[in-house]
Symmetry: C2
Subunit: 208 residues, 2 copies
Amino acid sequence: MKKPAADDQVPALSRKEEILAAAASLFRQQGFERTSVREIAQALGMTSGSLFYHFASKEDLLVMIMEEGLRAITRSVQQARDSEAQLPQRLLAMMRRHLAALLGPRLDAMSVLLYEWRSLSPAAQAKVLALRDAYEDLWTQSLQQAADQGCIDADVALVRQTLLGALNWSAQWYKPGGRLDIDTLAQRMFVMLFPRMAVSLPQSLAVA
Amino acid sequence: MKKPAADDQVPALSRKEEILAAAASLFRQQGFERTSVREIAQALGMTSGSLFYHFASKEDLLVMIMEEGLRAITRSVQQARDSEAQLPQRLLAMMRRHLAALLGPRLDAMSVLLYEWRSLSPAAQAKVLALRDAYEDLWTQSLQQAADQGCIDADVALVRQTLLGALNWSAQWYKPGGRLDIDTLAQRMFVMLFPRMAVSLPQSLAVA
DNA sequence: GTCTATACCTTGATAGAC
DNA sequence: GTCTATCAAGGTATAGAC
């Protein structure tokens, strides 16, 4: 109902999505404040005035990038949670999805999400924060189950912060095409952070 | 030789240090780009022109905040390393110092250090990066010893990134005066990340 | 060492032609 | 839907009096 769906079957990016992608890329590289609307427009072969036909303000652009990023990673991790019955496999799958969202094709949006939230007005911050809290709840649930089974530290909030900190920091150092691919990275971090769950995985990696 | 050291024995902040502290505070709260030199001057009861007597440029201010922060945390962690002979105690002490620098009185400078490096010109980035690498080497050394003893994963670089990620992320969620003080936080994270070393500590915390 | 005043530039956003 | 032209505001930095 959204579009007549013409002849082209390729899910090409709409103009709006193109703009979001270009903006996210620049925001990640230079930061939100250092990136001018003129730069964004230029990257798309437009002039700055045209941007404001698609978006109400520069902040609007930032909010949409963040919301889209959060919705995408939430959807992906939720899927992983629902697809694995066993707890160790489930947490490992969730970590994989988190890292894939962070370091894969969505790198730009996710980095912006992590490091540009101070540029949001208080009103916009509240909106984005609500989505972030919903995402973190996903982790709290599964980690709570692990804690109930005595597999991890009982302070679930602390475990979640430690885990997400380790995962998110990878955006600062991970280089695609390096010696570690994303799946391997997830597995290594899993073993490091949840050694007592790792032993019950099918193929458990040695530590030393 | 630097100053005649008059009668006052109080190590009062020099004007330059006052400016650095005020700027760091604003940079942390609002970000470097969103903070104008006028604001910084106003916070000190000056006008913007006066700032440029003390600093060559706004970026100069940022660089000095970062360098000072890095030198301080390096000195502190180095001290911890040298004061503990046993490896588990040494790593725990280093984690304590890192968290204390990050979350204590130096919170402003350290947050700026973590989250504003993109605002540096390439030349300035290189200078700061050199100091950061020296700091990280401190960790690599001690972690390598732990790896040699088979106490941790052999991929020392990965362990270091995971550890520093978990520690640094605390700047995003830790609230002073909350249920965890800094020493306790360090100990809990140590147990979580280095369970095989934790068992050889005097008073080891239970996990579940 | 700090102030006032200001030069000069870039910014986000708007209006209206096409 | 994009362009040109333009505005008002706010940015960094400088000059020179005090």
